[in-house]
Symmetry: C2
């Protein structure tokens, strides 16, 4: 920890999507290590940003409300930064189908413009980009490693694929050091629970805390899960390790289980609750990816990362958080 | 040919990039078969559109000057069409690096908007999309088949990758039948020869015709080439064959050779000329893909396509065309 303090103290960091779920947890960790942290967030109501996520960090981080599509703001914001955690994005698969051009503006155009601004004004910084397992589409084999073909099944997946590759390209051509991490289901305190725009686990946790049954669509699909603190570890390790420059990594979790088994675990950890198995709504079925879990061996080998929080403990912390703070997320 | 006439007579076709190189050759063939052809082109001076390309088709095709970024025009234009050959695009790799956002607007945003317009106003049509081998990046193995990972080395490659996948997605989710063909170096009468924005072969042919030496960058790189008439065959076969719906295909050519061997062939076919071997300029070197040639077996099996014009004959026709018409392309 002393070592980490030295490594991060005074380090000038920008987090896009910094008031969101992962961004705010990362901000808390970095602020604790003495980093100089700027958070950029649009606070668009349908997305993950929530000022309550950083209420305890008052005075310890700087908050800048602006949209990633605002290239003029970024020109100023990136100038003195050493490191960007680029976490802002439109994350809802369904919204990307009903409003594909907005998804494109945020997940493609804004990303390309941000990289252009970095190239012109601060090409020496490093960027860690939050990519997504969604870009693989329906897997051919499991676990999915980084050699798997990309065959996205929704507009969000296509745009995130392009957004990821802009980062890799700017690394390869312009030497802006960039690492992309393809996240799977990340969960924990601070996630959106109002609806399933960020993760289905949000609405499960909310229902469990409110004492209502939640819906499990399908139930047999296999998935892996990353607790947000483990995700924060991974982002920081990628940021600090020059061997990750220009590389793309999957991130997985503690273990693989079916959604039904996960639902049972939520109910058990909550000491009560219920769920109903539902067949997939047709508009979701056609963009569903079936079973997915990652091989994250490449990342573990490169960085030594491994999950530090077991799934039960992670669910327990998450439920406890929302039992206390649910009102701030509705 | 009688069979083809029956198949195409009266068929309502839209060609985006219709005044361009491939689009105008396709238009000529379709008009000859009695199809009802509308050509859409922006005539942006840096791109491939050239009214001379269709001067001989006066009164036999309809020309509509508008930009693919103009979604309002498309709303009208697609309504009564059965088939779109979607060939419009920004094609210059270098321009995509100096002006990445314009490349994105044309190769991503406009494509997504066109598909949205089709979904809303005419979801029963079929689209054949001109994709590019550029999206593979530097090959891991040769010949490159469709199972090869996509690792584009320039902004154009990333945007074309996304543009291709929007088509496949709209096929899979909305039933708008779409086929993507990844073209390699296509050449022939009607190509841009003013500069290398469309193909390096353009400037070679121009120099040979003008009796000037041309520059060969590198020279050892292996490439394959498609004569434009063979490309037109391929596009029409894809349009007519329902087995190609939702599929992605490479298109190759008659044979594989090094750029130096091709240069020798240009000089020989031209009955004279000269070239100089140059080292790669650094800004091109970093986006170069090295050797590339396609396996197009998947397409040949699906459609029976094969090239009908040998490379020598194709070069000979091309040189003869520009000897006669060069003034219209400068």
């Amino acid at each position: 920890m002393t070592e980490a303090k030295e490594a991060w103290s005074g380090r000038r960091v920008l987090i896009t999507g910094g008031l969101g779920f992962i961004g705010s947890n990362l901000a808390r960790r970095l602020a604790g290590l003495g980093a100089d942290v700027v958070l950029v967030d649009s606070l668009i109501p349908q997305y993950g940003g929530n000022l309550f996520n950083v209420a305890d960090l008052e005075g310890r981080v700087r908050v800048n409300i602006s949209d990633v599509r605002d290239q003029h703001a970024f020109r100023h914001l990136v100038q003195d930064r050493e490191l960007i955690f680029n976490l802002a994005g439109q994350t809802s698969h369904m919204d990307s189908m009903t409003d594909p051009v907005t998804d494109l503006e945020i997940n493609c155009t804004a990303q390309l413009r941000l990289l252009e601004v970095c190239r012109q004004h601060n090409p020496k910084l490093k960027i860690v980009f939050a990519s997504t397992r969604q870009i693989y589409g329906k897997p051919d084999y499991l676990p999915v490693d980084e050699k798997h073909l990309l065959r996205p099944t929704d507009v969000n997946g296509i745009n995130k694929m392009a957004g990821e590759w802009y980062h890799i390209l700017y690394n390869n051509v312009y030497g802006i050091r960039a690492t992309a991490i393809r996240l799977t289901n990340t969960f924990g305190p601070g996630m959106r629970v109002k609806d399933a725009r960020q993760t289905f686990l949000g609405v499960w946790v909310r229902a469990a805390v409110e004492g209502r049954p939640f819906e499990v669509w399908g139930g047999e699909q296999l998935r892996d899960f990353t607790y947000v603190e483990d995700c924060v570890d991974a982002l920081m390790m990628a940021a600090s390790n020059p061997n990750t420059d220009g590389e793309i990594y999957n991130l997985g979790g503690d273990r693989v289980l079916s959604l039904k088994d996960l639902a049972d675990l939520v109910v058990a950890t909550n000491n009560g609750g219920a769920y109903e198995i539902k067949t997939f709504p047709p508009e979701r079925k056609r963009i569903d990816i079936g079973d997915y879990y990652a091989s994250d061996e490449k990342f573990r080998l490169a960085t030594g990362w491994m999950p530090r929080t077991g799934l039960e403990a992670a669910l327990s912390k998450t439920l406890a958080y929302y039992r206390l703070n649910l009102a701030h997320y509705l």
